[in-house]
């Protein structure tokens, strides 16, 4: 156990160091230490660190942590190893709401736009959950995945249509088609960190109830758990987490798919342990993907949302292939 905890911590620290050090402007350890000693706005290296790398790191920590936890909650709720907020259209919902707000309500205030992500995420999460058969108890992997696919396709077609009807929308669209960590400084980071912490706390709180629910609705009711309340709380947690991640970084698919199996392997089968490990693993994976995206075509930068999509597709295929469908239908 100690070895595994150490492994999580080591990967996490490595990811943080990589995020601070890698980029167009290489940064040495001395520069970081110098900045800690006292911030000198005339030193270009320290400015890069404070204005570019640190906001990027903060954005990655919040978005990656939130999406990792959201993925774990989603997989526990749907009992489906192929569940992920991106795949199930939740972040498409958040993105669509923000685009709509920016284009048609004429909003440009970052805080209000970020707040719009939450109702969008909530509506999409509920719609996909219902379409995917959440209420009837056993959402099968195909049905749920296709419900998410349909939701994403619909929202994307709508966004495509909006863009063709409005010429000035292309720039907005670019941000919302694939997420990036580069805009951390423009976002209300503290407030969104707070919201995702609340989501994490809620997820930890209902974890044992979700495990009871996984035994079946009848059994859960017999043990004094109300399935509807637990499902509602889980959807709320998913909304808070995904909404804040999308508000910071735009849509990032597949992170919620990659993190839970890693967390289970490293932290064990207990859902609460998994949820405790998930944010650290999520942030590490996201930061690694981001660093890779900045190195691969340097000096150009590949958006982290594109990197996770490329990494996540094969993971999806691998999980699908090893599914024991007798169990999950």
């Amino acid at each position: 156990m100690a070895v595994k905890l150490g492994l999580i911590l080591l990967l996490f620290l490595l990811a943080v160091a990589l995020t601070l050090g890698v980029g167009v402007q290489g940064l040495s350890w001395q520069a970081v230490r110098g900045a800690m000693g006292g911030y000198d706005p005339n030193d270009p290296l320290q400015v890069v660190l404070a204005e570019i790398r640190l906001p990027r790191l903060a954005a990655g920590l919040i978005a990656g942590g939130a999406l990792g936890v959201a993925g774990s909650v989603m997989q526990a709720l749907t009992r489906n190893p192929l569940a992920d907020p991106g795949l199930l259209g939740v972040d498409a919902g958040a993105a669509f709401a923000v685009v709509l707000g920016a284009l048609y309500l004429g909003q440009s205030d970052a805080g209000i736009l970020a707040a719009l992500a939450f109702p969008g995420a909530a509506l999409a999460a509920m719609a996909v959950f219902l379409l995917g058969g959440g209420l009837s108890g056993e959402p099968g992997p195909i049905r749920l995945t296709l419900a998410g696919l349909a939701m994403s396709a619909l929202l994307l077609s709508l966004v495509n249509g909006l863009i063709l009807l409005r010429g000035d929308a292309l720039e907005v669209f670019r941000f919302w088609i694939a997420g990036t960590l580069a805009l951390g400084l423009q976002k209300p980071l503290l407030a969104l960190a707070g919201v995702s912490l609340v989501g994490w706390w809620l997820a930890l709180w209902i974890a044992p109830l979700l495990e009871t629910l996984a035994l079946g609705r009848g059994l859960a009711r017999g043990l004094g758990t109300s399935p509807l309340k637990v499902q509602g709380a889980a959807l709320l947690a998913i909304t808070l987490l995904t909404g804040s991640a999308v508000a910071i970084a735009g849509p990032i698919a597949f992170l919620g798919l990659i993190v839970p199996p890693l967390a289970r392997r490293l932290a064990g089968r207990n859902l609460r342990h998994e949820l405790l490990a998930a944010p650290f693993i999520g942030a590490s994976v996201l930061l690694f993907a981001d660093a890779l995206g900045r190195m691969i075509l340097a000096p150009a930068e590949v958006r982290v949302g594109v990197m996770t999509a490329i990494l996540g597709g094969p993971v999806f295929v691998w999980i699908a292939r090893s599914l024991r469908l007798g169990e999950v239908r």
Binding site: A300, A309, G313
Partner: protein, 325 residues
């Protein structure tokens, strides 16, 4: 056969409207004059502007429809279709790669090849002898290959110049703009030949629909027959993609819509119904996409996306509601 007359009537109506409506509205008199004398605006529309476009849409839609219907019958799942199972994403990725690396081949050919490769990959990866529910695994693996391909496509899209990117985007969404009679003839011949191939395999398809165990009992070599049928279906989709681009959701919608309109039960009748429904969907979506907004011509793929996604949602609530209750 009563159902089929509805389908044929609808097809005729849509074709007729497609010739009349659009950027410039034609009157019936114009069309009649063009048809009888070969002169005036009606003749130009028929011969050059809308005639070949409608013919291409009809034939490509029929090919998509046949392809989807075969997938759905073979995998015995209404959610199976080449367009949701990685084929379209593969075609899109191939187009972008060709543009990114400056490959000098016709885009249509490249798109079709990319789709074929993706289909082959899905087949290879999902092939696990002796496992239960192979159809389910195949659909999921197809979805996953599709996700991977679209991720890679976005990646390479970023390396293109703006002009190349907008060219690529047109090919990825699927469009019927500026089709010629060559396109129409090409897809008609391809769909015709492959349709005949399907007709030869009709008995195998009927047996396989009963399930692999019964099909084997009826004297069919199951795996070989399945492979041949899937290959035919994939080629049909590739042919359609080559003239219309990877238009989403037509193959998925055609089968159930065809059955709904005609009430067909026999495999042969259902295939015919799916072909008709596919033609109806693609031609109808094309008509909507160029006449709904004055002055804006949306690519037909955006319209089938808008129509297809709610359809898929409805299908999900219905198809599974039955199984689960």
């Amino acid at each position: 056969m009563k159902g089929f007359s509805t389908l044929i009537l609808l097809l005729a109506l849509i074709a007729f409207l497609s010739l009349l409506l659009g950027e410039v509205r034609l009157s019936l008199a114009d069309l009649w004059q063009g048809l009888t004398t070969g002169e005036g605006p009606g003749a130009l529309t028929l011969r050059v502007l809308r005639g070949p476009r409608v013919a291409t849409a009809m034939a490509a839609g029929a090919a998509f429809g046949l392809s989807g219907a075969v997938f759905q019958m073979l995998l015995r799942n209404p959610l199976a279709a080449p367009d949701v199972m990685g084929f379209n994403a593969g075609a899109g990725l191939a187009v972008i790669l060709a543009l990114a690396f400056g490959l000098m081949l016709p885009m249509a050919l490249i798109a079709a090849l990319g789709g074929l490769l993706a289909a082959l990959l899905v087949g290879l990866i999902s092939w696990q002898p002796g496992r239960s529910e192979p159809a389910l695994v195949m659909i999921l693996v197809g979805l996953g290959i599709g996700f991977t391909a679209s991720g890679l496509a976005t990646f390479f899209l970023l390396t293109l110049t703006d002009a190349e990117a907008s060219e690529a985007r047109r090919w990825i969404i699927g469009s019927l703009a500026a089709r010629s009679w060559n396109h129409a003839a090409q897809i008609t011949v391809i769909a015709g030949v492959l349709g005949l191939l399907l007709a030869v395999q009709l008995r195998a398809l009927a047996c396989l629909e009963l399930g692999p165990v019964l099909a084997q009992g009826l004297g069919l070599s199951v795996e070989a027959a399945k492979r041949k049928l899937l290959a035919t279906a994939v080629l049909l989709a590739a042919g359609a993609v080559a003239v219309a681009g990877p238009v989403p959701f037509v193959a998925l919608m055609a089968g159930p819509l065809g059955i709904g309109l005609t009430g067909a039960r026999q495999p042969a009748a259902r295939l015919l119904a799916a072909a008709g429904a596919g033609a109806l969907i693609l031609t109808g979506a094309d008509l909507l996409s160029r006449s709904l907004w004055q002055g804006v011509q949306l690519p037909v793929g955006v319209m089938t996306g808008l129509l297809g996604a709610p359809w898929l949602m409805w299908l999900l609530t219905r198809a599974f509601g039955k199984v689960e209750s």
